[in-house]
Symmetry: C2
Subunit: 410 residues, 2 copies
């Protein structure tokens, strides 16, 4: 049994939300707890109320809309994503996941369909992590991964405090930021943010999990000497050692797994003057893979290369592990529901691991979780160049609705 | 005919000057136009007046002490260096060159020696370039390389204006900052700031010239993508391209001249975030050699490597030449005078090219010029670790005095 999201209404709703904080170049500037965030929350509240959902806002600003099921004791199916954006981000990203959840409810209401399990749709606070850190903050608090008070105290670049900004926009609710009922499962639709689906001509991604990652930083300490009179063989150049390791990090993915990626995103050199040999250079690693053994082996390889570079250049070195996230493998039940939906709907789909973290990462710790990906043209995201055709957006939304419907029906 | 500088007096004078702005760890913090610079200038004025020199200060603060010669029409021999220091610099650097010039005059006065040519000793304003840019500023203005007004307008990191600071310490003189008489030659004693003399067990360096250099910057422009979902083969990573070229700059000296050095001292990455692939990276080159053809060939090699790296990473690139200084070859007359002095005095000497720029660079454009180097232990300079034994300091000072005496006598 299938349901059928109204394509025209879905696209219109997508355009409506994209107008709130929309940029001149067709992107979205809707930072968490900003005026634009306030307006999109008001808009979302109205949409939920129009569907007669029981709307609640928790003390961290996470917004929920509850639709009763036939069996009030059955665990609820939670469906949603986030409405905030990066600075000059795209209009799809997480917003499509919230609109698709809304469309699920609208479709069920329109068809007067009663589900066995209750369905709840959700807009998580601050998924992006660009104004306040960390990313996936609202779902992280709700899942008990972060302490509420610590997160309230976070400040943005201008020194504004999270809790005050949440109160200012009127979305500090009274409900505790933690599960208030029994949940069965969580489903989330998001754009892929990578090129795999497009490369394989797939319309919809059946997400089987989320890669894990290791973050860390290496610091080389050499000697700051004058770049003129100091012969090459006298030098202990911290930047040359860093450059050595950065090129090795570029190569690491070629010697480990098919999906391994390795990045140096940050570098800082001291004293950073054209005619002084760099004394101290700090740079980071970010290595991801679906397999934790590969992540660990690649991390070890980076440290080994740092040791080699330190010997070659005669510089001291140290490193600091900054974060480790285990890969997530989604529940068979949820992956199966998504795969079943694409089968029934006749969409070209493929199974895919997510390269980025999502609110689903936190939900996975609480309940059976799954995700649907839409194609990202050229893999672009967090950019005004982010693009997915309405046809592909619709297929992903319809997949989400049908998978959630199946989970709520079983 | 030789003269003999009084070693004890020379060492005492070195210690006296090192007390003015001396640091706890035996270094010197005597930034140009600071209170310490004012005090060392007052001290230097007193020393010159005690030797009955005709003291003048020009409008840029360059200080001169003139001693008449037998033939008032003969070109003057100019001898000196600079009394300012880097932050936490060493006590030898340029100060020894000024003290040695003072000792030349003291020795001639003590022995009642009249020279054929007049002798003038000099303390150049702001050789270091650490508080106000550029380095070698006072000698550059005096040589007509920099416009006076532009240099007056330079500001330090706190926004203090050069001209106001010069007036504040009372050393904006009335004499135009340009040659006021005919000069025959210029001699300067400085520490080597490199390890060559020590490596070759030489006590004194007969400086034959100063290396030339090219400065420039390369910018790679790639694409800022999410470090997770972006596969390696989709990336255009500006930092990887930069790292490639930085390691090549490290290798360039091994394929060009014996004295070629290449350095990347500065790097800036954007957006510089651990989980975003670097979009734009700018870094510098600094390549030096005694041979201009080698400098040019090495610069071309860097640009070729940048082209290769840009192709490999699929990033755009551009470059900017920032400075070019031709190598300086000192006058045979001056090099011969220094070499003759070390021969007569029986010092172990070697001919050496300077890897760093000096006030002599500017003087070379106006008159026959030469330099004497003292050993720098471990090649350290611009550091409190800078060290030269008093025995070696003395030999360098005595060499300078005898070489200048020869030039003034001929």
């Amino acid at each position: 049994m299938s349901i059928d999201v109204d394509r025209e209404r879905f696209v219109e709703t997508m355009k409506e939300q994209a107008d709130i904080g929309g940029t001149e170049d067709g992107g979205l500037y809707r930072l968490t707890l900003s005026e634009e965030d306030k307006r999109i929350r008001e808009w979302f509240t109205t949409q939920m109320e129009e569907e007669n959902l029981d709307v609640t806002v928790d003390e961290f600003g996470n917004m929920f809309g509850y639709r009763e099921g036939r069996n009030p004791d059955a665990g609820t199916v939670l469906v949603g994503s986030h409405l905030d954006s990066q600075p000059y981000g795209g209009i799809y990203d997480g917003a499509m996941g919230v609109v698709a959840a809304l469309e699920l409810v609208r479709t069920l209401n329109e068809e007067n369909i009663e589900t066995e399990r209750p369905i709840e749709i959700v807009n998580w606070t601050n998924e992006e992590g660009s104004r306040f850190q960390p990313a996936m903050q609202g779902s992280g608090v709700w899942a008990g991964e972060h302490a509420l008070d610590e997160q309230y105290a976070q400040t943005d670049a201008e020194g504004n405090v999270f809790e005050e900004e949440l109160e200012r926009i009127g979305y500090k609710g009274s409900v505790p930021a933690e599960p208030q009922k029994e949940y069965d499962s969580y489903l989330e639709l998001h754009i892929e943010q990578g090129p795999y689906l497009a490369e394989h001509d797939a319309e919809v991604g059946i997400v089987t999990g989320i890669v894990g990652f290791t973050w860390g930083a290496i610091t080389f300490c050499g000697e700051a000497d004058h770049s003129g009179p100091t012969p090459m063989h006298y030098r202990s150049d911290a930047l040359v050692a860093a450059a050595d390791v950065i090129t090795q990090i570029r190569r690491i993915p070629g010697t480990f797994g098919e999906r391994t990626v390795g990045t140096t995103g940050y570098i800082d050199a001291k004293p950073n003057s054209i005619n002084i040999i760099p004394e101290e250079v700090t740079f980071t690693w970010d290595i991801r893979d679906p397999d934790p053994d590969i992540i660990e082996a690649a991390r070890e390889r980076v440290l080994t290369e740092a040791e080699y570079a330190s010997e070659r250049e005669g510089v001291d070195w140290e490193y600091e592990d900054r974060m480790w996230t285990d890969p997530v493998h989604f529940a068979d039940k949820c992956v199966g529901a998504v795969a079943g939906a694409t089968d029934r709907l006749g969409y070209d789909s493929m199974r895919i691991f997510s390269g980025a973290g999502h609110d689903a990462t936190h939900m996975h710790k609480l309940m059976d979780t799954g995700m649907v990906f839409s194609v990202s043209e050229n893999g672009k995201s967090h950019s005004e160049k982010e693009y997915t055709s309405w046809a592909d957006c619709y297929k992903a939304a319809n997949t989400l609705a049908n998978a959630a419907f199946e989970l709520a029906t079983e």
